[in-house]
């Protein structure tokens, strides 16, 4: 039966990946023109003939790694069987600025391929190999952040200034709109650092979300002060400084668009939908390893900052939740202190402290799940595992931190996730009560 609607096809894909015995994993690399249209495609098919425009190359091996960071999130390595030298790192072949879109997918029950995008990348660290019986080209693929952080592009030739009261998202968009040829704003899509329209959170666009600075109400999507980045820094430094003002998540998503998400929404991970449930009896679940890392656990986070009028601001979040295994009452007060000039109000320090506490107090229980390949999982989403090895068979929820998928047809996928069950209810202590008044 032909699967016609996108919903039918997606449901069929879910059925297929749930039964890895039936699944034929697919990998596809689309080589993009400067305007992001597809120039040509290669995949795992080695049966191409000579004389065709897309050469006899095919994807032999590789891996895709995704991790939840502010900045570089996606990286992959890929090895081509490069029989006709079409994939050497040379001008008119693969050269600076060439983008590729990576897809993973599976063959559906009607025999058609179904692909899910995994990211848009640039080529880095080319390596070619020649043996008597093979000729290969191996590349590290880095996501488009590499064009901001100086890896492939992005060093500042001059001091970069974002004036006070500038819209943060407009400033971010402004960086992407700069021409790679003269570092000036351009409307030419093919010259821009990144022509894809970024996806920004609208959380801070609410006119009611304001901070009070020197008695003046300033909307949270505006820069509270001038952000200056020294020359020799990178566009990524500017992006991260702007992102730090809203304490957001910034990075490139699987479709190749820059995405900024609010961390304020992020506090309630428990309420996110579960995108995959693993059980002991399902064929997708190969095993799970729990890693304990007590050295990196903190249950007391103090964030210091500096307001625009020079006053000290700060906040402290403490895990005193009696249901948490790492609360202050159980293991003592393990304090983490960070000071940064970019935090400018108590409220913002509190948001950051709460966010840090959430991460730092759960790190001791990160799990690595080994499973069959599936391609719709994304970082910062929830998976659940039915722990039939524990009394009462609890269902444990985990927030995906990192994913590693092999690009070849065989091989297991690894998911690193942290437990969300353990997120405590942070107790926020205002700066003046505790840090200055000594009342703990």
């Amino acid at each position: 039966m032909a699967l016609l609607t996108p919903q039918d096809r997606y449901l069929d894909y879910l059925k297929i990946v749930a039964d890895p015995d039936r699944m034929v994993p697919l990998t596809k690399l689309e080589f993009l023109n400067p305007n992001d249209t597809v120039a040509y495609v290669i995949d795992g098919n080695y049966k191409r003939r000579y004389g065709y425009f897309d050469s006899r190359a095919f994807i032999q091996d590789g891996a895709l790694n995704i991790s939840l960071n502010n900045g570089q999130r996606r990286a992959a390595s890929v090895r081509f069987e490069n029989l006709d030298n079409a994939f050497d790192f040379a001008i008119n072949k693969l050269w600076f600025g060439r983008r590729v879109r990576l897809f993973k997918g599976a063959v559906l029950s009607d025999g058609t391929p179904y692909y899910i995008p995994q990211g848009v990348f640039y080529f880095n660290s080319p390596k070619t190999g020649w043996k008597p019986n093979s000729r290969t080209a191996e590349y590290q693929l880095v996501d488009k952040w590499a064009y901001l952080d100086g890896t492939l592009f992005g060093n500042l030739e001059n001091t970069y200034e974002v004036k006070s009261r500038t819209n943060i998202f407009a400033a971010m968009q402004g960086i992407l709109n700069l021409s790679i040829y003269d570092h000036k704003a351009t409307s030419d899509y093919t010259k821009k650092i990144d022509g894809i329209t970024p996806v920004f959170t609208d959380y801070y666009n609410d006119p009611k979300k304001v901070v009070v600075i020197n008695g003046e109400e300033v909307q949270m999507n505006l820069t509270p002060k001038t952000v200056t980045t020294a020359m020799g820094g990178t566009y990524a430094n500017v992006m991260l400084d702007l992102n730090a003002i809203i304490a957001g998540w910034i990075g490139y998503d699987s479709t190749g668009a820059l995405r900024v998400d609010a961390s304020a929404d992020d506090i309630e991970d428990n309420k996110k939908p579960v995108i995959w449930s693993f059980t002991e009896n399902s064929k997708t679940f190969f095993g799970l390893e729990e890693t304990a890392n007590p050295a990196q656990v903190y249950n007391d986070v103090i964030i210091w900052g500096e307001s625009v009028d020079g006053a000290i601001v700060g906040a402290r979040a403490v895990n005193e939740d009696p249901t948490s295994d790492t609360s202050v009452n159980r293991i003592g007060r393990k304090t983490f202190v960070e000071s940064s000039e970019i935090n400018y109000t108590n409220k913002q320090c509190a948001a950051l402290a709460e966010w840090y506490l959430k991460r730092k107090t759960v790190l001791q229980k990160s799990v690595t799940i080994s499973c069959s390949q599936m391609f719709h999982l994304r970082e910062n989403n929830i998976i659940s595992v039915l722990r039939s090895d524990k009394p009462n068979n609890p269902i444990e929820k985990h927030l995906i931190q990192a994913i590693s998928i092999p690009l070849s047809q065989k091989g297991a996928m690894q998911i690193t996730a942290t437990s969300v069950q353990d997120y405590p209810t942070p107790k926020l202590i205002p700066l003046d009560e505790n840090l200055l008044g000594g009342n703990s």
Binding site: E161, K184, M231
Partner: protein, 106 residues
């Protein structure tokens, strides 16, 4: 066995990460850095700010002068147009303060 080329590749990949770690080291992060600049306009004495351009920015006419607060104890003669001054900052240039005269000769 890893070859020299592989070691080179790994080193190249690790370099930005190591630089980031060094930058984020508490000692380096809290260190005060200084950058030379040239005064572009007479200081605004009510707002205690002065418009300056950093040295390499002088060669780029598209870069507008940037306004920074100045040290109240700096002699007024050091803030005249064309004088070279030091901007001190920690963590980020966003914290910069025009601190002192940079016309030193040793």
């Amino acid at each position: 066995m890893a070859t020299y080329n592989e070691a080179e590749t790994i080193m190249r990949q690790l370099k930005p990460i190591i630089n980031k770690c060094i930058e984020n080291h508490p000692l380096v992060k809290s260190a005060i850095k200084a950058q030379k600049a040239v005064v572009q306009a007479a200081p605004d004495t009510s707002a205690h700010t002065v418009a300056i351009k950093f040295l390499p920015d002088l060669f780029n006419a598209d870069i507008a002068p940037m306004t920074f607060p100045y040290n109240p104890n700096i002699p007024t003669g050091d803030l005249t147009v064309g004088k070279t001054v030091f901007v001190w900052y920690y963590q980020s240039l966003s914290n910069g303060v025009v601190m002192q005269n940079a016309d030193w000769s040793i």
